[in-house]
Protein backbone atom coordinates (compact mmCIF):
# COMPACT_ATOMS: atom_id res chain seq x y z
CA UNK A 1 0.00 0.00 0.00
CA UNK A 2 1.31 3.43 -0.89
CA UNK A 3 1.84 5.91 1.86
CA UNK A 4 -0.95 8.06 0.52
CA UNK A 5 -3.40 5.17 0.49
CA UNK A 6 -2.42 4.22 4.01
CA UNK A 7 -3.08 7.74 5.14
CA UNK A 8 -6.52 7.78 3.56
CA UNK A 9 -7.38 4.44 5.13
CA UNK A 10 -6.21 5.75 8.50
CA UNK A 11 -8.33 8.85 8.20
CA UNK A 12 -11.36 6.82 7.17
CA UNK A 13 -10.92 4.57 10.20
CA UNK A 14 -10.70 7.56 12.53
CA UNK A 15 -13.80 9.10 10.96
CA UNK A 16 -15.67 5.81 11.30
CA UNK A 17 -14.69 5.49 14.95
CA UNK A 18 -15.72 9.09 15.60
CA UNK A 19 -19.08 8.46 13.95
CA UNK A 20 -19.57 5.30 16.01
CA UNK A 21 -18.68 7.13 19.22
CA UNK A 22 -21.07 9.93 18.28
CA UNK A 23 -23.88 7.48 17.61
CA UNK A 24 -23.29 5.65 20.89
CA UNK A 25 -22.93 8.79 22.96
CA UNK A 26 -26.06 10.34 21.50
CA UNK A 27 -28.28 7.25 21.74
CA UNK A 28 -31.75 8.20 23.00
CA UNK A 29 -32.92 6.52 26.19
CA UNK A 30 -36.39 5.14 26.79
CA UNK A 31 -38.33 4.98 30.01
CA UNK A 32 -37.18 1.69 31.50
CA UNK A 33 -40.40 0.05 32.57
CA UNK A 34 -42.46 -2.94 31.86
CA UNK A 35 -46.18 -2.30 32.01
CA UNK A 36 -46.84 0.60 34.40
CA UNK A 37 -48.49 -0.32 37.70
CA UNK A 38 -52.14 0.71 37.65
CA UNK A 39 -52.78 4.12 39.14
CA UNK A 40 -56.00 5.80 40.15
CA UNK A 41 -55.77 9.17 38.50
CA UNK A 42 -56.30 12.34 40.49
CA UNK A 43 -57.52 14.75 37.83
CA UNK A 44 -57.46 17.78 40.11
CA UNK A 45 -53.79 17.12 40.80
CA UNK A 46 -53.25 16.57 37.06
CA UNK A 47 -54.65 20.01 36.34
CA UNK A 48 -52.47 21.51 39.06
CA UNK A 49 -49.36 20.02 37.42
CA UNK A 50 -50.60 21.26 34.03
CA UNK A 51 -50.91 24.80 35.42
CA UNK A 52 -47.71 24.95 37.43
CA UNK A 53 -45.92 23.28 34.52
CA UNK A 54 -47.03 26.14 32.29
CA UNK A 55 -47.87 23.78 29.39
CA UNK A 56 -50.18 26.43 27.93
CA UNK A 57 -47.45 29.05 28.07
CA UNK A 58 -45.80 27.20 25.16
CA UNK A 59 -48.44 24.85 23.73
CA UNK A 60 -51.30 27.33 23.19
CA UNK A 61 -52.74 27.97 19.75
CA UNK A 62 -51.42 31.09 18.03
CA UNK A 63 -53.43 34.18 18.94
CA UNK A 64 -56.07 34.86 16.33
CA UNK A 65 -56.27 31.29 14.95
CA UNK A 66 -59.81 30.97 13.61
CA UNK A 67 -61.80 28.63 15.83
CA UNK A 68 -58.84 27.95 18.08
CA UNK A 69 -59.54 27.31 21.72
CA UNK A 70 -56.95 29.40 23.53
CA UNK A 71 -57.57 27.48 26.72
CA UNK A 72 -56.55 24.14 25.18
CA UNK A 73 -52.96 23.09 24.45
CA UNK A 74 -53.50 22.66 20.70
CA UNK A 75 -50.08 24.07 19.89
CA UNK A 76 -48.61 26.00 17.00
CA UNK A 77 -47.51 29.25 18.63
CA UNK A 78 -43.96 30.00 17.47
CA UNK A 79 -41.31 29.72 20.19
CA UNK A 80 -38.21 31.59 19.04
CA UNK A 81 -34.93 30.38 20.58
CA UNK A 82 -31.27 30.98 19.73
CA UNK A 83 -31.12 27.64 17.83
CA UNK A 84 -34.21 28.31 15.75
CA UNK A 85 -37.99 28.54 15.95
CA UNK A 86 -40.11 25.75 17.45
CA UNK A 87 -43.83 25.23 17.11
CA UNK A 88 -44.67 23.20 20.25
CA UNK A 89 -47.33 20.69 19.27
CA UNK A 90 -50.86 19.61 20.02
CA UNK A 91 -51.21 17.95 23.46
CA UNK A 92 -54.92 17.16 23.15
CA UNK A 93 -55.85 13.49 22.58
CA UNK A 94 -56.51 13.84 18.85
CA UNK A 95 -55.38 10.58 17.20
CA UNK A 96 -53.71 12.07 14.16
CA UNK A 97 -52.39 15.44 15.24
CA UNK A 98 -52.20 15.16 19.03
CA UNK A 99 -51.24 12.63 21.69
CA UNK A 100 -54.23 10.35 20.96
CA UNK A 101 -52.02 7.50 19.74
CA UNK A 102 -49.47 7.75 22.55
CA UNK A 103 -49.07 5.29 25.41
CA UNK A 104 -48.51 6.51 28.95
CA UNK A 105 -44.95 5.13 28.87
CA UNK A 106 -44.25 7.14 25.72
CA UNK A 107 -45.52 10.27 27.44
CA UNK A 108 -43.34 9.63 30.51
CA UNK A 109 -40.33 9.00 28.25
CA UNK A 110 -40.90 12.39 26.62
CA UNK A 111 -41.32 14.18 29.94
CA UNK A 112 -38.46 12.49 31.80
CA UNK A 113 -35.87 11.71 29.11
CA UNK A 114 -36.87 14.18 26.41
CA UNK A 115 -37.18 11.35 23.88
CA UNK A 116 -39.99 10.94 21.34
CA UNK A 117 -41.96 7.75 20.63
CA UNK A 118 -39.86 7.28 17.48
CA UNK A 119 -36.73 7.49 19.66
CA UNK A 120 -35.47 10.91 18.77
CA UNK A 121 -34.25 13.60 21.13
CA UNK A 122 -36.35 16.60 21.88
CA UNK A 123 -34.54 19.89 22.16
CA UNK A 124 -34.30 21.26 25.69
CA UNK A 125 -36.48 24.19 24.60
CA UNK A 126 -39.06 21.68 25.89
CA UNK A 127 -38.11 21.95 29.58
CA UNK A 128 -38.02 18.20 30.24
CA UNK A 129 -34.99 18.50 32.50
CA UNK A 130 -37.25 20.21 35.02
CA UNK A 131 -40.22 17.87 34.46
CA UNK A 132 -37.83 14.92 34.90
CA UNK A 133 -37.59 15.61 38.62
CA UNK A 134 -41.37 15.73 39.05
CA UNK A 135 -42.80 12.85 41.07
CA UNK A 136 -44.06 10.06 38.87
CA UNK A 137 -47.56 10.27 40.46
CA UNK A 138 -47.68 13.89 39.35
CA UNK A 139 -46.69 13.06 35.78
CA UNK A 140 -49.19 10.21 35.64
CA UNK A 141 -51.96 12.49 36.90
CA UNK A 142 -50.91 15.04 34.28
CA UNK A 143 -51.22 12.35 31.62
CA UNK A 144 -54.71 11.43 32.87
CA UNK A 145 -55.66 15.11 32.77
CA UNK A 146 -54.41 15.52 29.18
CA UNK A 147 -56.28 12.35 28.11
CA UNK A 148 -59.65 13.73 29.16
CA UNK A 149 -59.29 17.05 27.34
CA UNK A 150 -61.44 17.39 24.21
CA UNK A 151 -59.53 16.10 21.17
CA UNK A 152 -58.86 18.95 18.76
CA UNK A 153 -57.49 18.46 15.26
CA UNK A 154 -54.55 20.82 14.90
CA UNK A 155 -51.70 19.67 12.66
CA UNK A 156 -48.23 20.56 13.89
CA UNK A 157 -45.39 22.25 12.16
CA UNK A 158 -41.73 21.19 12.06
CA UNK A 159 -39.17 23.24 13.93
CA UNK A 160 -37.17 25.65 11.78
CA UNK A 161 -33.64 24.63 12.61
CA UNK A 162 -30.67 24.17 10.33
CA UNK A 163 -29.58 20.55 9.83
CA UNK A 164 -32.48 19.44 11.98
CA UNK A 165 -31.85 15.66 12.08
CA UNK A 166 -28.17 16.10 12.93
CA UNK A 167 -28.96 18.83 15.45
CA UNK A 168 -31.53 16.53 17.10
CA UNK A 169 -29.03 13.73 17.41
CA UNK A 170 -26.44 16.09 18.87
CA UNK A 171 -28.86 16.95 21.68
CA UNK A 172 -27.91 13.51 23.03
CA UNK A 173 -24.37 14.75 23.61
CA UNK A 174 -25.69 17.83 25.36
CA UNK A 175 -27.83 15.66 27.63
CA UNK A 176 -24.75 13.66 28.64
CA UNK A 177 -22.77 16.79 29.39
CA UNK A 178 -25.63 18.23 31.40
CA UNK A 179 -25.88 15.02 33.46
CA UNK A 180 -28.97 13.57 35.10
CA UNK A 181 -31.24 16.22 36.55
CA UNK A 182 -31.55 15.85 40.33
CA UNK A 183 -34.61 16.73 42.40
CA UNK A 184 -34.07 19.33 45.14
CA UNK A 185 -33.05 17.63 48.39
CA UNK A 186 -35.80 17.61 51.00
CA UNK A 187 -34.88 19.59 54.11
CA UNK A 188 -36.62 18.25 57.22
CA UNK A 189 -35.56 21.34 59.19
CA UNK A 190 -37.82 23.45 56.97
CA UNK A 191 -41.61 23.59 56.94
CA UNK A 192 -43.75 21.34 54.76
CA UNK A 193 -44.72 24.42 52.73
CA UNK A 194 -41.06 25.29 52.10
CA UNK A 195 -40.34 21.76 50.88
CA UNK A 196 -43.41 21.81 48.69
CA UNK A 197 -42.27 25.17 47.28
CA UNK A 198 -38.77 23.88 46.54
CA UNK A 199 -40.31 20.95 44.68
CA UNK A 200 -42.68 23.11 42.63
CA UNK A 201 -40.01 25.69 41.77
CA UNK A 202 -37.30 23.24 40.68
CA UNK A 203 -39.61 20.51 39.43
CA UNK A 204 -42.77 21.06 37.40
CA UNK A 205 -42.68 24.86 37.81
CA UNK A 206 -39.37 24.92 35.83
CA UNK A 207 -38.66 28.43 37.16
CA UNK A 208 -34.91 27.85 36.69
CA UNK A 209 -35.34 27.44 32.94
CA UNK A 210 -35.33 31.22 32.74
CA UNK A 211 -34.18 32.41 36.16
CA UNK A 212 -31.00 30.30 36.47
CA UNK A 213 -27.97 31.49 34.50
CA UNK A 214 -26.43 29.16 31.91
CA UNK A 215 -22.87 28.43 30.89
CA UNK A 216 -21.49 28.58 27.35
CA UNK A 217 -23.04 25.22 26.51
CA UNK A 218 -26.39 26.56 27.71
CA UNK A 219 -26.37 24.16 30.65
CA UNK A 220 -27.91 25.64 33.80
CA UNK A 221 -25.39 26.62 36.47
CA UNK A 222 -27.08 25.17 39.55
CA UNK A 223 -24.57 26.75 41.92
CA UNK A 224 -26.16 30.04 40.98
CA UNK A 225 -29.69 28.66 40.90
CA UNK A 226 -32.36 31.33 40.32
CA UNK A 227 -29.78 34.15 40.38
CA UNK A 228 -31.11 35.60 37.11
CA UNK A 229 -29.24 36.10 33.87
CA UNK A 230 -29.54 36.35 30.13
CA UNK A 231 -33.00 35.61 28.77
CA UNK A 232 -33.15 32.18 27.05
CA UNK A 233 -34.52 33.75 23.85
CA UNK A 234 -32.15 36.72 23.93
CA UNK A 235 -34.82 39.10 25.22
CA UNK A 236 -32.86 41.18 27.69
CA UNK A 237 -32.35 40.00 31.25
CA UNK A 238 -34.30 37.76 33.57
CA UNK A 239 -34.36 39.07 37.15
CA UNK A 240 -32.93 37.19 40.10
CA UNK A 241 -35.31 35.41 42.48
CA UNK A 242 -32.77 35.61 45.32
CA UNK A 243 -32.93 38.13 48.11
CA UNK A 244 -36.39 39.31 47.02
CA UNK A 245 -37.18 40.60 50.52
CA UNK A 246 -33.71 42.01 51.32
CA UNK A 247 -33.84 43.92 48.02
CA UNK A 248 -37.29 45.29 49.01
CA UNK A 249 -38.99 43.77 45.99
CA UNK A 250 -41.60 42.25 48.33
CA UNK A 251 -42.30 42.70 52.02
CA UNK A 252 -42.66 39.00 52.80
CA UNK A 253 -43.82 35.65 51.46
CA UNK A 254 -47.48 36.67 51.72
CA UNK A 255 -46.92 39.65 49.46
CA UNK A 256 -44.90 37.63 46.95
CA UNK A 257 -47.72 35.06 46.83
CA UNK A 258 -50.17 37.89 46.06
CA UNK A 259 -47.88 39.22 43.35
CA UNK A 260 -47.67 35.77 41.74
CA UNK A 261 -51.45 35.42 41.90
CA UNK A 262 -52.43 38.88 40.65
CA UNK A 263 -49.40 40.27 38.81
CA UNK A 264 -50.01 43.61 37.17
CA UNK A 265 -53.67 43.63 38.19
CA UNK A 266 -52.45 44.60 41.67
CA UNK A 267 -49.78 46.93 40.33
CA UNK A 268 -46.85 44.47 40.53
CA UNK A 269 -44.62 45.21 37.58
CA UNK A 270 -41.86 42.85 36.36
CA UNK A 271 -44.28 39.95 35.97
CA UNK A 272 -45.33 40.39 32.35
CA UNK A 273 -42.48 40.59 29.85
CA UNK A 274 -40.13 37.96 28.45
CA UNK A 275 -42.58 35.07 28.88
CA UNK A 276 -43.33 35.70 32.57
CA UNK A 277 -46.82 36.97 31.74
CA UNK A 278 -47.96 33.60 30.40
CA UNK A 279 -46.39 31.84 33.40
CA UNK A 280 -48.11 34.22 35.82
CA UNK A 281 -51.45 33.67 34.04
CA UNK A 282 -51.08 29.95 34.75
CA UNK A 283 -49.88 30.52 38.33
CA UNK A 284 -52.96 32.66 38.97
CA UNK A 285 -55.03 29.48 38.56
CA UNK A 286 -53.28 27.63 41.40
CA UNK A 287 -54.79 27.27 44.86
CA UNK A 288 -53.38 30.08 47.08
CA UNK A 289 -51.69 27.52 49.37
CA UNK A 290 -49.48 26.36 46.48
CA UNK A 291 -48.49 29.95 45.66
CA UNK A 292 -47.75 30.53 49.31
CA UNK A 293 -45.47 27.46 49.29
CA UNK A 294 -43.60 28.76 46.22
CA UNK A 295 -43.26 32.18 47.86
CA UNK A 296 -42.06 30.76 51.16
CA UNK A 297 -39.32 28.85 49.42
CA UNK A 298 -38.28 31.79 47.23
CA UNK A 299 -38.03 34.36 50.03
CA UNK A 300 -35.73 32.00 51.94
CA UNK A 301 -33.12 32.21 49.17
CA UNK A 302 -30.32 34.58 50.20
Amino acid sequence: MSRRRRRIAGLAAVALLALLAFLILTRPRAFETGPLPPASADLANGELVFRVGGCLACHAAPAGTPGAERALPTGGTPLPTPVGTFYPGNLTPDRETGLGGWTEAEFLTAMVHGVSPDRRHYFPAFPYRAYAVARSEDLRDLWAYLRQLPAVRAPGRAAEIRLLPLARRTVGLWKRLAGDPRPPAADPAQSAAWNRGAYLVHGPGHCGECHTPRNLLRIRDERRALAGGAHPAGEGKVPSLRGLVARHRYKDAAELALALQFGETLGYDKLASGGMGAIQTELSQLPPAELRAIAEYLVSLP
Binding site: E235, G236, A272, S273, A278
Partner: protein
Protein backbone atom coordinates in the same frame (compact mmCIF):
# COMPACT_ATOMS: atom_id res chain seq x y z
CA UNK B 1 -17.97 89.07 -9.84
CA UNK B 2 -14.92 87.47 -8.46
CA UNK B 3 -15.69 85.73 -5.14
CA UNK B 4 -12.87 85.59 -2.69
CA UNK B 5 -11.75 82.09 -1.80
CA UNK B 6 -12.59 82.89 1.78
CA UNK B 7 -16.16 83.65 0.98
CA UNK B 8 -16.67 80.55 -1.02
CA UNK B 9 -15.29 78.50 1.84
CA UNK B 10 -17.78 80.18 4.12
CA UNK B 11 -20.60 79.52 1.68
CA UNK B 12 -19.71 75.86 1.89
CA UNK B 13 -19.20 75.77 5.62
CA UNK B 14 -22.46 77.40 6.58
CA UNK B 15 -24.71 74.80 4.97
CA UNK B 16 -22.46 72.04 6.30
CA UNK B 17 -22.67 73.43 9.82
CA UNK B 18 -26.42 73.73 9.45
CA UNK B 19 -26.68 70.14 8.33
CA UNK B 20 -24.64 68.98 11.29
CA UNK B 21 -26.77 71.04 13.67
CA UNK B 22 -29.94 69.65 12.13
CA UNK B 23 -28.66 66.10 12.40
CA UNK B 24 -27.73 66.70 16.03
CA UNK B 25 -31.17 68.14 16.70
CA UNK B 26 -32.86 65.15 15.14
CA UNK B 27 -30.73 62.81 17.25
CA UNK B 28 -31.82 64.80 20.31
CA UNK B 29 -35.44 64.54 19.22
CA UNK B 30 -34.99 60.81 18.80
CA UNK B 31 -33.46 60.31 22.20
CA UNK B 32 -36.03 62.40 23.91
CA UNK B 33 -39.12 60.25 23.28
CA UNK B 34 -37.44 57.22 24.87
CA UNK B 35 -36.76 59.13 28.08
CA UNK B 36 -40.18 60.74 27.97
CA UNK B 37 -42.08 57.48 27.49
CA UNK B 38 -40.09 55.76 30.21
CA UNK B 39 -40.90 58.63 32.56
CA UNK B 40 -44.59 58.41 31.67
CA UNK B 41 -44.57 54.64 32.22
CA UNK B 42 -42.77 55.07 35.56
CA UNK B 43 -45.46 57.48 36.70
CA UNK B 44 -48.14 54.99 35.64
CA UNK B 45 -46.32 52.26 37.52
CA UNK B 46 -46.22 54.38 40.68
CA UNK B 47 -49.93 55.15 40.32
CA UNK B 48 -50.70 51.43 39.86
CA UNK B 49 -48.73 50.65 43.03
CA UNK B 50 -50.74 53.19 45.01
CA UNK B 51 -53.97 51.70 43.65
CA UNK B 52 -52.73 48.18 44.39
CA UNK B 53 -52.19 49.17 48.03
CA UNK B 54 -55.85 50.24 48.19
CA UNK B 55 -56.96 46.95 46.65
CA UNK B 56 -54.88 45.08 49.23
CA UNK B 57 -56.56 47.17 51.92
CA UNK B 58 -53.26 48.65 53.03
CA UNK B 59 -54.67 52.08 52.26
CA UNK B 60 -58.29 53.26 52.63
CA UNK B 61 -60.58 53.47 49.61
CA UNK B 62 -61.10 57.13 48.71
CA UNK B 63 -62.73 57.94 45.40
CA UNK B 64 -60.66 61.14 45.00
CA UNK B 65 -57.36 59.25 45.41
CA UNK B 66 -58.50 56.62 42.96
CA UNK B 67 -59.49 59.27 40.45
CA UNK B 68 -56.22 61.13 40.76
CA UNK B 69 -54.10 58.02 40.22
CA UNK B 70 -56.31 56.77 37.39
CA UNK B 71 -55.99 60.14 35.71
CA UNK B 72 -52.20 59.98 35.98
CA UNK B 73 -52.38 56.63 34.20
CA UNK B 74 -54.80 57.86 31.54
CA UNK B 75 -52.77 60.97 30.77
CA UNK B 76 -49.56 58.92 30.61
CA UNK B 77 -51.18 56.54 28.15
CA UNK B 78 -52.42 59.47 26.09
CA UNK B 79 -48.96 61.03 26.04
CA UNK B 80 -47.14 57.89 24.91
CA UNK B 81 -49.17 57.85 21.68
CA UNK B 82 -46.59 60.26 20.24
CA UNK B 83 -43.59 58.80 22.04
CA UNK B 84 -42.95 55.68 19.97
CA UNK B 85 -41.81 57.27 16.69
CA UNK B 86 -40.42 55.05 13.94
CA UNK B 87 -36.76 54.24 14.65
CA UNK B 88 -36.98 54.69 18.42
CA UNK B 89 -36.34 50.99 19.06
CA UNK B 90 -32.86 52.27 19.82
CA UNK B 91 -31.40 55.57 20.87
CA UNK B 92 -28.93 57.32 23.10
CA UNK B 93 -30.39 55.70 26.21
CA UNK B 94 -31.34 52.08 26.60
CA UNK B 95 -34.87 51.14 25.69
CA UNK B 96 -36.82 47.99 26.44
CA UNK B 97 -39.32 48.54 23.66
CA UNK B 98 -39.42 45.55 21.29
CA UNK B 99 -39.02 46.20 17.55
CA UNK B 100 -42.31 44.33 16.98
CA UNK B 101 -44.07 47.57 17.98
CA UNK B 102 -43.20 49.06 14.61
CA UNK B 103 -44.11 45.91 12.71
CA UNK B 104 -47.55 45.71 14.37
CA UNK B 105 -48.29 49.36 14.81
CA UNK B 106 -52.08 48.96 14.66
CA UNK B 107 -52.12 46.24 17.31
CA UNK B 108 -49.83 48.25 19.58
CA UNK B 109 -52.06 51.26 19.19
CA UNK B 110 -55.16 49.15 19.93
CA UNK B 111 -53.56 47.95 23.15
CA UNK B 112 -52.70 51.49 24.15
CA UNK B 113 -56.24 52.70 23.43
CA UNK B 114 -57.76 49.78 25.37
CA UNK B 115 -55.57 50.56 28.39
CA UNK B 116 -56.49 54.24 28.14
CA UNK B 117 -60.20 53.37 28.08
CA UNK B 118 -59.81 51.09 31.11
CA UNK B 119 -57.99 53.85 33.03
CA UNK B 120 -60.70 56.37 32.12
CA UNK B 121 -63.35 53.94 33.44
CA UNK B 122 -61.35 53.49 36.63
CA UNK B 123 -61.18 57.26 37.17
CA UNK B 124 -64.98 57.34 37.23
CA UNK B 125 -65.32 54.67 39.95
CA UNK B 126 -66.89 56.01 43.13
CA UNK B 127 -68.09 52.77 44.62
CA UNK B 128 -65.69 50.47 46.44
CA UNK B 129 -67.27 47.27 45.11
CA UNK B 130 -66.56 48.36 41.52
CA UNK B 131 -62.97 49.33 42.28
CA UNK B 132 -61.10 46.01 42.29
CA UNK B 133 -62.61 44.73 39.01
CA UNK B 134 -61.95 48.08 37.30
CA UNK B 135 -58.36 48.06 38.57
CA UNK B 136 -57.97 44.49 37.32
CA UNK B 137 -59.01 45.57 33.82
CA UNK B 138 -56.37 48.31 33.81
CA UNK B 139 -53.68 45.92 35.07
CA UNK B 140 -54.57 43.33 32.44
CA UNK B 141 -54.34 46.01 29.77
CA UNK B 142 -50.83 46.98 30.95
CA UNK B 143 -49.88 43.30 31.02
CA UNK B 144 -51.17 42.47 27.56
CA UNK B 145 -48.96 45.18 26.05
CA UNK B 146 -45.88 44.42 28.18
CA UNK B 147 -46.15 40.70 27.35
CA UNK B 148 -45.78 41.39 23.69
CA UNK B 149 -43.97 44.68 23.27
CA UNK B 150 -41.57 45.12 26.20
CA UNK B 151 -38.36 43.29 26.96
CA UNK B 152 -37.58 42.46 30.60
CA UNK B 153 -35.38 45.11 32.14
CA UNK B 154 -33.60 42.90 34.68
Amino acid sequence: MNRSPRRSLLSMLVPAALAVALAAASVAAEKEPIQARQDAMEAQGAAMKALGAIARKEAPFEAAVVRQNAETIASGLAAVAELFPEGSDRGAIETWARPEIWANRADFEAKRTAAHAAATDLAAVTDEAAFAPALGRVGNACKSCHEKYRRPKE
